[in-house]
Amino acid sequence: MFNYTFRWNQAFNALPRLLEGALVTLEIALLSMLIGIVIAILLTGFRLSGNALLSAIARTWVEVARNTPALFQIYMAHFGLGAFGIHLSPYTSLLAGIAFNNAGYLAENFRGALKAIPDTQTRSARSLGMPAIQAFRLIVMPQMLRIAFLPATNQMVWAILMTSLGVTVGMNTDLAGITQELNARSFRTFEFFAMAAVIYYLIAKAVTLAARALAWRMFRY
């Protein structure tokens, strides 16, 4: 059945290049999370603002992010924005697409976390003479962070996996992109992509474990 000689040493020789790509992958994932968190906080604010227009913007963002493929969102950034004369590089399109996706999911996560904290917590804080903003910052926010933390780390893992989609818009510096380039030159598809799969797996596990350790240190109660 297998009339094929595996050439693993070729793939091993390429390991340094693949690891360089892995760094770019991590960089994009981290940046997209940071941008996503900032936008998600804004969207959550929009939704609670009581302003009909802002609330509609936030809801549309969340629905589009959750109900269309991530790849579609990246295509939108890469091809769709061309209609406005905006031509983004593969790197920027990928980052924009994932950040858009992250923001939508995280906004929903934040809203859920906020709803999970009983009003009585704010009420107690106010009864001690705290102004509303202080009560939010000292009492509501820290508790919200704990509830939102685990889903947010899942989103981080998702962001890492999503970076692989960049190859479809011509990204060639991240892990998937470099793997694809090596593959195109050598046609050792299975070996190179198996190698990439192992690296993605290890990154995903490392991020999950790091997040768990961080949560254990941060949330002692």
């Binding site: 109900n67 269309t68 579609f72 769709g80 998937a176 598809t189 299975f190 992509f193 797996y201 995903a204």
Partner: protein, 217 residues
């Protein structure tokens, strides 16, 4: 509003793409759910220790990008000379991917059935099979349905990645039209709207069932 070169033929082309998306999704969800139920029951019955190998393998499908899985699956079928066409390869990989998630949902559902309820069933003289069929299955289904609908929606969206193996599904069809007509925004908006039209009702159904079937009603 839009001055477009898009013809009815092009719309039919998009519809064909959407049909391909639906087909791949349907095969993956059906096959993945069947496998997920088998693996889920197996994982539950074997306990965390003995099911470790299964857990590990399924976890790989959830920790490696689907795109990489598709390329690997395709390379594998070519090395093994299985002679699968891209549609078959896509369906196989996407089914395993779905099964990996579905297993967790099924296991969670079974674990949510209170042991006391099961003991009551067994004390009435029901066999393991009867207990599973008449007590556990209906209760676990209620608990897991919202998550399962979420998974279906996820697979619908993730099925877009099969374009990398050359299948012309909805997104690829849109991309082909974009290249030909140079109207990226308009065509992609139609594409997004179609995704939205398919997934939004399913999401709503999920939300409705979640409310109606909440375990303590």
């Amino acid at each position: 509003m839009f001055d477009t070169a898009l013809t009815w033929n092009d719309m039919a082309f998009l519809a064909q793409g959407a049909w391909m998306t639906l087909m791949v999704t349907a095969v993956a969800v059906v096959a993945g759910t069947v496998m997920g139920i088998v693996f889920g029951v197996l994982r539950y019955q074997a306990g965390p220790y003995w099911s470790l190998p299964l857990t590990f393998v399924l976890d790989i499908f959830r920790s490696v990008p689907l795109l990489i899985q598709l390329v690997l699956g395709n390379a594998f079928q070519s090395i093994a000379r299985l002679g699968w066409d891209p549609f078959t390869t896509s369906c196989v990989i996407l089914s395993l991917y779905t099964a990996a998630y579905c297993t967790e949902i099924v296991r969670g559902g079974i674990e949510a059935v209170p042991p006391t309820t099961r003991r009551a069933a067994r004390s009435l003289g029901m066999t393991w099979r009867q207990d599973m069929m008449h007590i556990v299955a209906p209760l676990a289904t209620r608990v897991s349905l919202p998550a399962w609908i979420g998974l279906t929606l996820g697979v619908l969206k993730d099925s877009s990645l099969v374009l990398w193996l050359g299948l012309i599904e909805l997104l690829r069809a849109s991309q082909i039209l974009v290249t030909r007509l140079q109207e990226p925004l308009f065509i992609l908006l139609i594409c997004g709207a179609i995704y939205f039209l398919i997934s939004f009702p399913i999401a709503r159904l999920g939300g409705y069932l979640e409310k109606r079937w909440s375990p303590n009603d």
